[in-house]
């Protein structure tokens, strides 16, 4: 059953990032870092993996002359998250199948 879980999402930090982004329209990098208690370096690597998979969109911009990185879940990311949750549920309630 574990094999069916999306390997991109079945990682603590990447799953935490996607779970944060699923309930908001967009979030700043600093917000994600604070909520996931991760280091900037590790978070950047994981965000790049999610971006490469097409699950999130990363927007770099300036706000009051300060650089700002905004992350946003994509349609593919929402679909992947829904499939991942479905797979988790079927694993936990096999009799419900």
């Amino acid at each position: 059953m574990f094999e069916e879980l999306d390997p991109i999402l079945h990682s603590q930090l990447r799953l935490a990032v996607i779970s944060l982004l699923i309930s908001v329209k967009e979030a700043e990098f600093t917000f994600i870092k604070e909520k996931t208690n991760s280091t900037a370096g590790n978070l950047s690597v994981q965000i790049n993996k999610l971006k490469a998979a097409g699950y999130i969109q990363v927007i770099k911009q300036f706000n009051n002359n300060y650089p700002q990185t905004i992350c946003k879940i994509t349609k593919e990311g929402v679909e992947a998250f829904e499939l991942y949750v479905k797979a988790l549920q079927s694993y936990m309630n096999p009799e419900g199948q």
Partner: protein
Amino acid sequence: MPEKNFSPQESLQLIQSMIAKTRRDMGDNSIQFLLWGWVTFACCSGQFILKKFFHFDQHYVVWMMVIPATLASIYIGKKQNSKRKITTYIGDSMKYLWMGMGICYFILSMILTRIGWDKNIFPFFIMLYGLGTFISGKFLQFKPLVAGGLMAWALAIAATFFEYDYQMLFGAAAILVSYIIPAYLLRNKNSTASDV
């Protein structure tokens, strides 16, 4: 957050905890409710006092307070936006709802300027207060706002049985139950949640 193999139960717990963390950061709109609540409450009761006790012809002049309040509201909104680290669909919906409500109040004021302010107009304003707070309460899943909206609608109907002067008091009462009291409760709830 360390990387390690984790079970489906841990995955679900992680998802739940992350969603709960964003819910706590939905943003505090209570300051806007309090600003508009107190300004409109002061306008309604001020107009009643000027008309009933001082017999002042231009009793409606108190509503000029809305102009500095609008400027203050825009300033507060911009300041909050620059500090905000997340944008939520609920936040956006609330923004557009109240923007639309503001436009409705403005259009209603324009209509009344044309047809005359001495008509029994307060029930219409009270009905709109009720609509805004009812929908906001549903968006935020905050029962006192929903209840405030329902009470404002009841007050809108009740106000039609009274003459214009007393309708102002119904307006003030509607603002108290649909804006001010829920705003203090919302503020209290948000500060308790941020302490967790």
